[in-house]
Symmetry: C2
Subunit: 283 residues, 2 copies
């Protein structure tokens, strides 16, 4: 039997951009917000900002006090964190994470999660090219998407509980699906888009090109200001799906290129019209 | 000897999204704003909105009254318009246009422009995926880029005059260059970006994918809601440069794909880091 959200102590492991933004969004909705981070200065700043009630330099001290724990670490760090600290969660603790690739963590947790804990893997679709706790207040959740990918053993009431917390944070559309479906779709909406933005910048060495920008260039390349180590991880963790999406995109690009090359005006216009209508329906 | 801007009668040929937005931006800065459009309802609406002083169904009636004429027609229509109405401009009229591809119009006008007129070809970098006069007020010019590509014979004082008008409209960075240089750079910042956005939507038939969007997908594909006939024209008019840019982009994408495929983690991270820094300098 879960407590009410208002009575919960929430622990945040990793107080970066997303961990910080989650703490800010939950502030006033829960009993207490605790945080663990390897960077003591971040914990001090968050205490001074009254974003958290207490900071912890050692995970086990925090885990002993939490009803719900948000794992807001880099994808590669989450599994190591869970391996190291699994014995220290209080019985009945509800875990959730925010990793951008779900299959590795879901597969691992299907077998490794302690039977007396529950876990609702999640992915808030509200990142930013700016990283770190200091940028967290720029990260708005209002009206954004959130994906939940429960384990086979995740209790429905645990999913409902996290769903309610997510709504309180301001997200407006929550989708529940499998980790595999998430990773297939995210390979398109997120990773392929980052690959394209990076390739666009890679192919233009002229720093003065921005004088010729009219919005399209800026929109398509803003996310090229990505966190390189984090996105390297995300690309490689979802390598199979991402490569499949790149190949699909290359096929569509090639078809469009051929229409331009051969000046098949009517077909080109029909291609663009179809795309326009399809995109307009994607809301 | 040019008049002061405040004393000028400005004629706008084509009161669509850009023509309408230019009229709105110039309102109060000039003596009178006249407009010609084939759509009488648009002229009536603009009169009622007090965006123009008078609408004209026949170009020659308007051209007889103008000091400066903004040609805000589709690229393919501008040259036909100039061919048909060249005799009707008042001696000394200053012409400018807003076509997104400059070489065809600049080449034609180098020989065809009446000797007693002057022409400052231009390109306001402030479009929108929404078209038409009704959307014009959504089209802000504040802080945007503007490109001017004078003819060999364009008088420096004519360039200065248009430059001042452009600043009054709210644009903040005006770049003067050749039509060829404009078309090379615009092929990258604008046309390639539209090609990529269109190909991205073409390769994803799932209309429900938007539930998995977190900003990147939305940013990269907003411009896929393009005006299909207009962009068909723009792609084909700048075909040579655009195809060169597509090929460069495909090369960069392929290099990135190979790094992911072969899991060359360090090189992948270095590629992304270089891109991040290059993009951050592009302002």
């Amino acid at each position: 039997m879960m407590k009410n959200i208002e009575d919960c102590t929430i622990g945040i492991a990793g107080l970066g951009l997303m961990g910080g933004a989650i703490a800010m969004a939950l502030r006033g909705n829960v009993r207490r917000i605790l945080a663990y981070d390897i960077d003591g200065a971040v914990l001090t700043a968050a205490r001074e900002d009254a974003v958290i009630d207490r900071g912890f330099a050692h995970p086990q001290d925090m885990l002993a006090l939490c009803d719900v724990v948000f794992l807001c670490l880099n994808p590669s760090t989450i599994l190591a964190f869970l391996d190291a600290w699994m014995p220290f969660f209080e019985p009945g603790t509800l875990l959730t994470d925010i990793a951008g690739v779900k299959t590795p963590i879901v597969r691992a947790m299907e077998t490794k999660l302690r039977p007396d804990l529950d876990f609702v893997p999640g992915h808030p679709m509200a990142g930013s090219e700016k990283g770190g706790y200091a940028q967290a207040r720029c990260c708005s959740f209002t009206g954004k998407n959130y994906i939940l990918t429960p384990l086979k053993r995740t209790k429905p009431e645990s999913v409902d509980f996290i769903r309610n917390i997510v709504y309180r944070m301001g997200f407006s559309r929550i989708t529940e699906t499998t980790a595999e479906d998430h990773d297939r779709k995210i390979a398109f909406t997120s990773q392929l888009c980052h690959v394209i933005a990076a390739a666009l910048i890679d192919c233009e060495p002229d720093g003065a090109i921005a004088s010729f920008g009219g919005g399209s260039f800026e929109d398509l390349t803003r996310i090229a200001m990505l966190n390189a180590p984090q996105w390297t991880e995300l690309f490689l963790e979802n390598k199979h799906e991402l490569l499949r999406r790149i190949a699909q995109f290359e096929g569509s690009l090639d078809a469009l290129k051929t229409l331009i090359e051969t000046e098949r005006t009517d077909e080109l216009q029909a291609y663009l019209q179809t795309v326009r209508e399809r995109r307009a329906r994607m809301t």
